[in-house]
């Protein structure tokens, strides 16, 4: 094929274009926001219909674990943002370290989540368990939404962490560099989204009073 006769824009889809990839990432984040938006809508309606039950059920959650997780996520958000700064300034090593810190925070978050969920399982609060089935309907809805929403969020935490891991390899291999940091930036954007959603989940489930 004689490609020299072809008219191809420099930022064509077959080349690399930092702006396109960032725009694509933002658009994807909007869909994620609305995906959780649907769940928030359901939460709002059922909370409105079952105010007392939601309050009662929320006492079963451990505020301190939730708060710790909030701080862990916020911190990880800062470290990944700094990792981008570091790479932009050409400090590859610091960037990799900060990315690893972010992944470590993701793991801490999931471990705390594991213990939280574990405690609920022990007491039979998971949908379908005996104790759950004896609860009044409003509380059942609360726990259903709690598991659904934090579960879906946890899936996003895992995806985000794997994404960052993938990017770290890219930095090591020299595919993600000072001049071409889109991938790191996008993984960061995704990670911040995970944080954003948790910022709303935390007060809605843990801080009802």
């Amino acid at each position: 094929m004689s490609q020299e006769h072809a008219f191809v824009l420099p930022n064509s889809g077959h080349n690399f274009d930092a702006k396109s990839s960032k725009m694509g990432m933002w658009l994807f984040l909007y869909t994620e926001l609305l995906l959780f938006g649907g769940l928030f809508l359901v939460y709002m309606i059922y909370r409105y219909l079952n105010q007392d039950a939601f309050l009662l059920a929320s006492f079963e959650l451990n505020v301190w674990m939730g708060a710790t997780n909030t701080i862990v996520l916020l911190t990880s958000s800062m470290t990944i943002a700094m990792a981008i700064t570091a790479l932009q300034k050409g400090n590859k090593k610091l960037s990799i370290t900060l990315s690893w810190v972010t992944i470590a925070a993701a793991i801490v978050f999931l471990v705390i989540k594991y213990f939280e969920w574990g405690a609920k399982f022990e007491h039979g609060y998971f949908p379908g368990m005996d104790h759950y089935n004896e609860l009044p309907h409003g509380e059942r809805l609360y726990f259903y939404l709690y598991f659904f929403m934090t579960g879906l969020h946890a899936v996003h935490v895992i995806v985000g962490a794997v994404f960052i891991l993938f990017v770290i390899r890219g930095i090591q291999k020299g595919k993600v560099t000072k001049d071409r940091y889109s991938l790191l930036e996008n993984s960061g954007l995704y990670w911040h989204l995970v944080d954003l959603i948790w910022i709303y989940l935390f007060p809605l489930f843990y801080l009802i009073h």
């Binding site: 072809a6 008219f7 889809g13 077959h14 396109s20 694509g24 409003g138 059942r140």
Partner: protein
């Protein structure tokens, strides 16, 4: 008009072999992959439609029993909506034509584009899979209304997962198009120099992007409710079925515009080409696409007037619904004004575009009947609704799809179909279509409910007419498909630009080379539809007369 040097291999010749198709990153090939897969499912679902009409030929049980009928209309709906009409124009012609219209070599994310097609295939397989195990395909209707969708023993979960995966495919296509339009317009082309099909795809893409996630999460909740038995939407265990309807229609009403807007884009391409005249009100048409997309988000409640939604909410939704009519009418008037004093050549694509305007007007006006609170109560869930949305979806979007197929056929294959056969097919389709669906409007007003395999004797004549219509229509379809398939193999070769179009897609050879353009395409001066001989304004005409 520059036509590429003959030495360049076209995109069919550039690579060979099955894998070069299944894993292609070329937008033109992906568009064709969509065309073949979507065409297959359209034929399947059209067959189911004919089967339903056959059952309704006479009152009572003729062919299939009530339960089978329920499953047939569900499958017909699911396939037609999620596998045909939503992806149809954007995925097939959007993929094929958008980069050509923008004068660029591909979409912004070619790999993502391929992934979208594969997700489509996976979703389609899920939907087909429901046929072969357990109690068969879902019998809920394509709306999956709770609580029935939670309780029925048929394969609702699988069908719903199919819709979920297809939703993902749709989101990724939309995302791709938005970035493409923002980033990959050819040098010199701004938003206001874009062809109108690109505008309508842009508006569509925003709906795909922002509405689809809501249905995604809702469908996941249906699956969770079925598996875990939580009363989220089932009132017997404390859920609220109307909340499900809200969530469902928050997506599914805007989705109607995913189907209609690209069709309007096709009409806006076809009419100026065959009138050889500047489009009347370019900006009005472009911005009304955005307006329809925007207003489309605010009107979902008009599907729920009789379902127990509150009075004030119904009132607001009814008012908002009427606003959609405004930008739609703006388009129709502009199309008609474009034809005025144009040098019209009656070709098959134009016939389909005109049929679109005719059918869509009937569909739109009957829509106003349904959008008004008071009248909706009487015709809700009758055949009137069935006829209304077939006028909009099939008579509108479906006809535009066929029109686009005939419009870009010489672009895609570099050959021309048999025009006499195509005209015949069009006439049969148009007559058959109206004969099938117009009687439904009448029996609907008389009170015949939808989704029953049986009906009262007084509806018999109209139903017979309708079934006869479906036979004419299917004959037209078969002739059209055979004509196109045969012409693709044996049609007469045509020049790169048989319609004398001036949008950029006609500035390259037909079929286009792999990279679309050999050199930078030249934008027509003074707007995308500024035909050299066109008389665009009254003043210009007078000036010309004076000379």
């Amino acid at each position: 008009m520059t036509v590429a040097a003959l030495s360049q291999p076209n995109f069919f010749q550039a690579k060979k072999g099955i894998a070069s198709w299944l894993f292609t990153l070329d937008h033109k090939r992906i568009g064709l992959l969509y065309l073949y897969s979507i065409g297959f499912f359209f034929i399947v679902a059209a067959g189911l439609g004919v089967l339903m009409r056959l059952e309704l030929l006479n009152p009572g049980r003729d062919l299939i029993d009530a339960q089978t009928y329920n499953q047939v209309f569900t499958l017909h709906g699911v396939i037609m909506i999620f596998l045909f009409i939503i992806p149809s124009i954007p995925a097939v012609f959007g993929n094929f034509a958008l980069p050509l219209l923008l004068g660029t070599d591909d979409v912004a994310f070619p790999k993502l584009n391929l992934i979208s097609w594969w997700l489509y295939v996976i979703g389609a397989l899920f939907a087909l899979f429901t046929l072969f195990y357990g109690d068969g395909p879902a019998d809920t209707g394509w709306t999956f209304y709770a609580p029935y969708s939670v309780r029925t023993g048929t394969n609702v979960s699988m069908t719903v997962m199919a819709a979920f995966v297809l939703g993902f495919s749709s989101i990724l296509t939309g995302l791709n198009f938005i970035v493409t339009i923002h980033r990959l317009k050819t040098p010199g082309m701004g938003f206001n120099q874009m062809p109108l099909f690109a505008w309508s795809l842009y508006a569509t893409a925003w709906i795909q992007l922002l509405a689809t996630p809501i249905i995604g999460i809702t469908l996941l909740m249906i699956v969770a409710e079925r598996v875990l038995g939580i009363g989220l939407f089932d009132p017997s265990i404390g859920g609220d079925p109307i909340l499900y309807q809200h969530l469902f229609w928050i997506y599914s009403h805007p989705a109607v515009y995913i189907m209609a807007l690209p069709a309007m884009g096709i009409v806006s391409e076809v009419i100026p080409t065959f009138a050889q005249r500047t489009i009347f009100g370019y900006k009005a048409i472009a911005y009304s696409s955005m307006a329809i997309a925007f207003v489309g988000y605010f009107v979902w409640g008009h599907h729920m007037f009789t379902s127990g939604m509150s009075g004030p909410a119904g009132f607001i939704f009814s008012i908002l619904t009427f606003f959609v009519a405004i930008p739609t009418a703006v388009k129709v008037f502009n199309w008609v004004a474009t034809l005025y004093k144009g040098s019209i050549s009656i070709e098959v694509p134009l016939l389909f575009a005109l049929a679109f305007i005719f059918n869509f007007s009937i569909g739109g006006l009957t829509g106003l009947v349904l959008g008004a609170l008071a009248t909706d109560v009487h015709v809700h869930d009758t055949h009137f609704v069935v006829a209304h949305f077939h006028y909009v979806m099939f008579g509108g979007a479906g006809f535009a799809f066929f029109g686009a197929l005939h419009y870009w056929f010489p672009k895609i294959w570099g050959k021309m179909y048999n025009k006499a056969m195509a005209n015949l097919a069009f006439i049969l389709l148009f007559i058959g279509f109206n004969l099938t669906y117009f009687p439904m409007l009448i029996v609907g007003i008389m009170g015949m409910p939808r989704r029953y395999y049986d009906y009262l004797p007084e509806f018999h004549e109209m139903n017979m007419l309708s079934t006869f219509g479906s036979w004419i229509m299917i004959t037209g379809l078969i002739i059209m498909i055979i004509n196109l398939v045969v012409s693709k193999q044996r049609g007469a070769k045509v020049s790169g630009n048989p319609w004398n179009g001036i949008t950029l897609d006609w500035q390259t050879s037909s079929p286009p080379p792999l990279h679309n353009f050999d050199k930078m395409p030249v934008l027509p001066e003074g707007g995308p539809y500024n035909y050299p001989d066109a008389i665009s304004t009254h003043e210009e005409k007078e000036k010309k007369d004076d000379e």
